[in-house]
Amino acid sequence: MRTVRTLMTAVLAGAALFGAAGTALADSPSPSASSSADGEPAAPTEAGTSFRTATAIRPDQPATADASTGDYLYWVLPVDAGQRATVKAEVSLPQAAARHGAATWQLDVYDGLRRRQSCTYGAQTRTAAAESGSVELSCTLRTVRAWAEPWANDPLPGNYYVRLTVVDLPKDDLGLPVHTEVKATTADTGGAHAVDGALAAPLVPGAATATPQEGESPAGQQSVAADGPDGGWSSGWWSDRWIWTAVGGLLAALAGIAGYQLTRGSGRPSRIPPGA
């Protein structure tokens, strides 16, 4: 395994030196490429009610759902290594006349192992005053790392579950209709945040049960909710580190030539007599 990996790396590196920029351009996944033939996939208009039934969404795809106040709404999206995901939610509250007081809404993000992930910034919990018409929530995750210690809680590539719910409200307001809108965006952080190492498979529940071992029948089928980012998981070998390293090599070569030139001095050395 390791030998194969090393070989692969070497071959990749070799190939990259020759065709980095060109292939990178051709390879860079465009969000609509996969679905341009049959049009954009319709934005989800429903939300799931548990981890198991979470509705799959894609980055940059707005998802809406009509629900009752008090429902727990779940969505799931794929986030790959090197990406920093931001989830935004807007809840259109029931008419102020029907409500009895302030309500606190909360947006939680869980990783593929259902571990709660911290938000680095963004208003994750917000209280809507009794008279306000909507409440906006936002959560920006840490940059997803390609690998982490099993004992760490670092975000890893895989499914990310978004849970939206009201956490505090006057009891009389339970069950009133609300409209919610959720949108997740991912930003590439570039080579500065790259770590090496890799997971055997992204943290997607049922990744193993989808291809059962010989002779083993998986107990309770799990649906692989989010079907990976466009272009597949961690398929990109492009990173701005190629540019840094190549420029570094070029600079070293130029500096070497410059240094060599310095030792030659300018023109003929003065201590050599003319005509010698």
Partner: protein, 424 residues
């Protein structure tokens, strides 16, 4: 590795697509697969209070009938739908008789829309509100098969048949491990009705809606029926043990269990060298619990040494609290002699720190959902990031300086050699 997975996934997807393309043939033959198609029972309150004319100017009964008609028109084909009434027949004052008044109006099965609509049209608001017995009846109607089940309960008043607490009934039904969800809708509910209905919904992982308009009723029932039709994994019931020694052996999959307050349970998973164990657990708060709570998932060896743990704590209103862990077992070098290396038994311990006021019943326990995954190939780490490529200004400066020094040295050496050659 991943590429291989993706290829496999692609093949699976292709197969799935082919299956879907082939599927309509048997389905159009009029025989939906009774084993796996989801079942829904609409349970409608037909008590006397449904006569009140306060939903969009019409009676609650008329609103419900109108909503039912529209919903019946749009029921997905693969859903088996039944209708049950409560309080539809007995007009008398005898509470004992009135509280038994629940009846299946239309049996759960492939839907004949005209027949179902005719049955609904005959309903007139009549009697009591026996919610508890109706839930028991509905759970009985939905028996059989292993698909998801859903009861949609529509009522305008609280249960009038104490001491049978419908909330406790719902929890007992859910504890049977038959994947049953109860969604409740209250028509212009008062505080007591709302408390009772939201308690029923909470006990089964369902939702509660308060309805004020006909359109809202129709949309919500429609949404709930559609939700039942969406495919979802159904967990396999298991029962964890008090200690690792007698714990059930789990294969990769999705499991459900029940765990009492502040109890812990053990499960066992076999992990071969070179595999990564991934487990996550969710414990649902299906009743009134105290404000602060937590969950701990721990993997340890059979000798009790802790390998890794996942823990989470929280407070306030929640449906579940969950945590997870992963344990990559390094490939063993000694494995090559006898072919298959011995698997290590990992003990998984699931414990919760929920607590509840003394008035809350602790039996049955809280619902536990446990997922176990075994992934081939443990995760790999190395200290060089991204193929060992570099990044940043320091790299450029270092490389440039090294180049400069190398150039100078080269120049001096060649000059020195020229001088030596000239001197000789």
């Amino acid at each position: 590795m991943i590429t291989r997975k993706r290829l496999a996934a692609g093949v699976c997807g292709l197969l799935a697509a082919m299956t879907v393309m082939l599927a309509p043939t048997p389905a159009s033959a009029g025989e939906p697969d009774a084993k796996s198609s989801p079942k829904v029972e609409l349970t409608l309150d037909v008590s006397g209070s449904m006569r009140a004319r306060d939903i969009d100017g019409q009676s609650r009964m008329a609103a419900a009938k109108q909503a039912f008609n529209e919903v019946l028109d749009a029921v997905p084909d693969d859903v088996q739908l039944g209708i049950r009434t409560l309080g539809a027949n007995y007009r008398g004052e005898d509470r004992k008789v009135g509280c038994k008044d629940t009846r299946q109006l239309y049996p759960v099965g492939p839907l004949d829309r005209t027949e179902a609509k005719t049955a609904v049209a005959t309903l007139t608001p009549t009697g009591w509100t026996p919610i508890g017995p109706a839930l028991l009846g509905a759970a009985d109607d939905l028996k059989g098969g292993d698909a998801s089940r859903r009861i949609v309960l529509i009522t305008d008043g609280e249960d009038t048949c104490a001491p049978l607490d419908p909330c406790q009934v719902a929890r007992d039904i859910a504890a049977k491990g038959i994947h049953l969800t109860v969604d409740t809708l209250g028509l212009l509910p008062d505080a007591k009705t709302r408390n009772q209905l939201s308690c029923i919904a909470e006990a089964t992982g369902g939702t509660y809606t308060s309805v004020e308009h006909t359109k809202q009723l129709r949309d919500r029932v429609h949404q709930l029926v559609d939700r039942a039709a969406r495919p979802a994994a159904t967990p396999v019931a298991t029962q964890g043990a008090g200690q690792c020694a007698g714990a059930p052996q789990l294969k990769p999959g999705l499991y459900s269990d029940r765990e009492k307050f502040a109890e812990h349970r053990w499960y066992r998973v076999d992990v071969r060298p070179g595999q990564e164990l991934r487990a996550s657990v969710s414990i649902a708060a299906d009743r009134a619990v105290n404000n602060d709570y937590g969950v701990l998932l721990r993997a340890s060896t059979v000798h009790g040494r802790e390998i890794v743990r996942g823990a989470e704590a929280g407070d306030g209103r929640t449906d579940v609290i969950s945590s997870g862990l992963r344990y990559p077992k390094p490939p063993s070098e000694a494995a090559d002699d006898d072919g298959t290396p011995a698997a290590e038994t990992v003990c998984l311990q699931v414990s919760n720190s929920f607590s509840a006021p003394a008035s809350v019943k602790t039996d049955p326990g809280l619902p536990v959902e446990l997922t176990v995954d075994l992934v081939d190939g443990p995760s790999d780490a190395s200290d060089a990031a991204f193929l060992g490529l570099g990044h940043g200004w320091w790299l450029l400066i270092t490389l440039a300086l090294t180049g400069l020094v190398a150039g100078l040295l080269w120049g001096w050496i060649s000059r020195w050699r020229v001088t030596v050659w000239r001197t000789n």
